[in-house]
């Protein structure tokens, strides 16, 4: 399977949310089944599938989604998600290794953190600013975003509040914010994995398996989630779910989120343009073997090195002396 022919994140639909249906494989894609009929879904065009209450999904359907590079996320009533990911658009680990190198070096990690804050602010950060000052400024910026959305929609705002396990009791603006966040996280998670990065190696966020997802989602929170959630909440609490989803989709389209998210990730991590030829080879033939690491340079995989040690090495290997 030539991975170059898989659709790119930038050309895909952001998400599809379904509930109360059975999801099964259909030809090389999937279809939704309920008492009203059968609805095929072109999942190669889809980045994220959210499965809401009342859904069942078959093994073959999950495989078809993974083959098409679509992330599947399960939504519970309290918005806690389980997820399944395929191998991603590219089998090469070059992107992930770059992310790991940037993450593990404190100086490089700080560069990425600063770049991410600059992307949120939309302007450069003075080199003398401390991380504490940057976080303070970000706190003010987010508070202003909530206040502005509240003023623009007339929806009252008393602060971000959610009690885990008591989600249904939260006021409906906070419910809308939690829901919109979870759709943004799902789409960001799918894009991160699709582009070959790790969702766990976060720079600003740390300690969770989705730390990098939170980093990337925060680039778009004030321009996507907050306006979308307040717009949906403006119409009241009835039927909030579908209206939040529609508002999110409209915000994703307006912001051209799918077009910019992978380039934004690469920019935040300080990556240059083209990948090297080896990655291109790996992607053209998904089952090409991985290389073997060696201090001098990578050795080709798929080879038995039993007699690779020269005469002395051969004697040691065969006789153990």
């Amino acid at each position: 399977m030539d991975l170059h022919t898989l659709p790119k994140v930038r050309d895909s639909w952001s998400f599809l949310y379904v509930e109360h249906c059975r999801v099964d494989q259909e030809d090389k894609a999937i279809a939704l089944h309920d008492k009203r009929g059968r609805t095929p879904v072109p999942c190669a065009s889809l980045t994220t599938l959210f499965l809401g209450p009342g859904t069942t999904i078959t093994h073959a359907a999950v495989r078809a989604l993974a083959d098409n590079g679509c992330l599947v996320a399960w939504c519970g009533e309290d918005n806690v998600r389980f997820y399944a990911v395929g191998m991603g658009e590219t089998r090469s680990s070059a992107s992930l290794l770059h992310q790991a190198r940037m993450w593990s070096d404190p100086g490089k990690r700080l560069e990425v953190v600063q770049r991410m804050y600059e992307m949120r602010f939309g302007e450069p950060v003075p080199p003398t600013a401390t991380l504490r000052e940057i976080r303070g400024r970000e706190g003010m910026r987010v508070r202003k975003a909530y206040a502005a959305a509240s003023a623009a929609t007339g929806v009252p705002w008393t602060g971000r509040a959610y009690k885990r396990g008591e989600w249904h009791k939260a006021d409906y603006v906070n419910r809308a914010l939690s829901a919109a966040n979870s759709y943004l996280y799902g789409v960001c998670h799918a894009a991160i994995v699709s582009a070959g990065f790790s969702p766990a190696l976060g720079f600003i966020h740390t300690g969770k398996m989705l730390s990098f997802v939170y980093d990337i989602a925060d680039l778009y929170k004030t321009s996507v989630v907050i306006p979308a959630a307040f717009a949906a909440a403006r119409e009241g609490s009835l039927n909030l779910g579908p209206r939040v989803r529609l508002a999110c989709r409209q915000a994703f389209v307006q912001m051209r989120l799918l077009r910019r998210i992978v380039p934004d990730i690469q920019y935040a991590l300080g990556m240059e343009g083209a990948r090297d030829e080896r990655d291109a080879v790996l992607d053209s033939e998904g089952s090409a073997p991985a290389g073997l690491w060696d201090p001098v340079g990578t050795l080709p995989g798929g080879t038995n090195y039993a007699h690779g040690g020269g005469e002395r090495g051969k004697k040691w290997m065969e006789e153990g002396v």
Partner: protein, 92 residues
């Protein structure tokens, strides 16, 4: 200007003739063109009025996430469902 595709099934010949003034018939009953919103909407209205017992489908490009909108008229075996702004086709 949007790209327009109209599919007509079992409609009177006069209607098909009218559409060939504006669009190319690339396949029996399948009409393609690029039209302004106004011309497109007027032709669609005319098609729905004159379709008789037949059916019409209109697909045209727009600014939504999918990049196109779908309208149907008459007895089709397929229905267009809206999933929070995403359109999918359901077969009974």
């Amino acid at each position: 200007m949007s790209v327009v595709v109209m599919v007509l099934e079992s409609v009177p010949p006069g209607l098909r003739g009218e559409l060939t003034r504006w669009y190319l018939e690339v396949h029996p009953g399948v009409f393609v063109g690029a039209a302004s919103g106004m011309v497109r909407d007027r032709l669609w209205e005319k098609a729905c009025q004159s379709a008789g017992l037949g059916s019409c489908i209109l697909v045209h490009s727009d600014t939504s996430e999918q990049g196109f909108a779908i309208r149907t008229w008459g007895p089709t075996r397929r229905a267009v469902d809206d999933y929070d702004g995403l359109k999918l086709i359901r077969r009974a």
